[in-house]
Amino acid sequence: MTTSADLAAVALVTVATIGVGAYGVRVSRTTSDFYVAARSVTPFWNASAIGGEYLSAASFLGIAGLILAYGADMLWYPVGYTVGYLFLLFLVAAPLRRSGAYTLPDFAESRLDSRVVRKTASVLVVVIGWLYLMPQMQGAGLTLHTATGAPSWVGGALVGVVVLVIVAAGGMRSITFVQAFQYWLKVTALMVPAIFMVMAWHAHGAPSPGQTAVPVLAQDITVRVTSDLTVDVLYPTLVGVRGTVDGRRDDGPLVLAVGSHTLTTGTDLFLRKGSAVPQAVGQSTQHNMDWVRPLASTTSHDHPLYAIYSLVLATFLGTMGLPHVLVRFYTNPDGRAARRTTLLVLILLSGFYLLPTIYGALARVYAPDLLVTGQTDSAVLLLPGRLVGGIPGELLSALVTAGAFAAFLSTSSGLTVSIAGVIAQDVLPAMRGVRAFRIATVLAVGAPLVLSLFATRLPVADAVGLAFAVAASSFCPMLLLGIWWRGLTAAGATAGLVTGGGLAVAAVVVTVATNARTGWVGSLLAEPAAWSVPLAFTVMIAVSRATAASRPPGVNRVFARMHLPERVLVRPPERAPERA
């Protein structure tokens, strides 16, 4: 195995992250520095930092894994993540920056002049943030496990500790540098191996995933079963077994007949090159013909068209409601810069998202053995070693591992800053300043770390998708109506946040707890956005209409401030960083 190179890569990323962070510590001295990087970050670095923060474990590992398993329909994940930013640009970027809000609760309070709506928003920020942090920790555990065989909690704990150190020590200034550095690390870590892999693939005669009826192994491989599972065998397959199949102990060759078979934990399955892959039930699209075609797979969801539109709605509208996104806009000097930074971010994201598709498609040819257990999130980590042999393969593997760790660290630190900011302001009001922020950081990291140890293992991209659904059903309507409609009232916003956010969270909890995704009920719960988003909008508008008398009196002033170019209202434009 490539353990030592991978370990060195993880160590290097960790040390470099702390190093870049420490560089920032020396320049961050006041509370203002601590929170908002004193707003002296250039658009290029800011855009890189946004990209670095946004590209999480879901983007780096999850998308390729889902494409390997389910095929064409999963291309909607990267498209949705990108269009989400486009909608954010269209609908909220400049007004949100001009509102002067640093967090979503800040926006809620300053727009609606209500403490109740602020508290509600605070709770939702923490819920969405934890929902988003949990899969990062899982991804870290998986990566370290794949690279070194370490127990899965080690990776999550490592990420937790590093983030804790950086955030608590340096705040946002160092985070900005860390994030920007990690965007470029992530792109390099996927791009360089992809180039070598495509060359190797061409040298093999460019085998297309669609040229066999079902996924077929490209090499001999041993699969270790780590939890009891049922697999579907589509063609009679000769395998070697050491362990228990269908309840019988076996040690030697065995022909698996067509149909379902159970594999017991601890069983080793030896599979020959060229044989069809037994696939974990319900965890993949079994036939390559359905894998290539959009909307052909019924294994992922009973109602693929509903599921896709729900995902589209969640990602298109959810991005603007993610707690760690808004903070980044605050570091732009004005609304115009916020728009231009977003444009730059879209270019950076578009470049990145070309890559996971390549990994997913190549994995269908070179790593279909992951379909046996259905744990396809490790596809990105395994592929370079499979396609490129020898020392170069090991080095490329190490590079991908480093990139994956960068993904966990950057997203986790960004989220942690946001959650910690909200906890420090709204949950620990008795304490002040930097000390409160540090204690809040411990809470922000600790809770999802503990959750990730107990939670059912969802694919990381799925888990992140649920966070988007909650954000789209709560903060998206509040932001859109708050920015564009004078009629929104505090009561309306609170009712919508509670209804939309609450129901989406409930759907998430039921889905995670029961893992039932079949039938209409299962589909509606697994992909709640299609009904919870319109519902949240309806409730907000209806309750606001009913409570029209309680419209905040300063709404016209707030509107002018959000929508007017700075140079009209404020002369000269503020340049100097604030000193608190």
Binding site: A72, L75, W76, V79, T82, V83, L86, F87, L89, F90, L91, A94, G100, A101, Y102, P105, D106, E109, S110, R118, A206, S208, G210, V292, R293, P294, L295, A296, L305, Y309, V312, F316, R336, R339, T342, L343, L346, I347, S350, G351, T357, Q425, P429, A430, R432, W484, N556, R557, F559, A560, H563, L564, P565, V568, L569, V570, R571, P572, E574, E578
Partner: protein
């Protein structure tokens, strides 16, 4: 709870937003700042223009990209077609949408800034 000191109370109630938009107000923006009828009409006109632009852009993207699943349902033959050896839906979703997204973003930023420039000119003249 002990009774909070004055300075503590500041942290509880401030949302760290107030200090961020400081500056002297110029003559052009006085109407707006003083909440006169003219000012309100001016602000409303800009908000309307920007909202129209945002909705137009979002609906366009919603149809062009959000319409793709329906296109795949209505024209199942597309999956059989290939471009450079790659099935057409994969080319559309995996590659082609991204330059489109960047182009749309660029066009929107230009249009939104033009709205603001027009508005600033109007305010300076009035």
């Amino acid at each position: 709870m002990t009774s909070p000191t004055g300075s503590r109370r500041v942290t509880v109630t401030s949302s760290r937003t107030r200090a961020q938009r400081r500056g002297t107000y110029g003559s052009g923006g006085r109407e707006i700042d003083e909440q006169t009828v003219v000012g309100e009409v001016l602000v409303t006109s800009l908000v309307r223009a920007q909202l129209r632009l945002a909705i137009y852009a979002a609906v366009l993207v919603g149809i062009l990209i959000g319409g793709l699943p329906l296109v795949f349902v209505l024209f199942p033959g597309l999956s059989g077609r290939q471009l450079l050896g790659i099935p057409v839906p994969w080319v559309m979703l995996g590659v082609a949408v991204y330059p489109g997204i960047c182009l749309g973003a660029w066009a929107y930023v230009r249009a939104a800034e033009r709205n603001e420039d027009d508005f600033a000119e109007l305010v300076d003249r009035s």
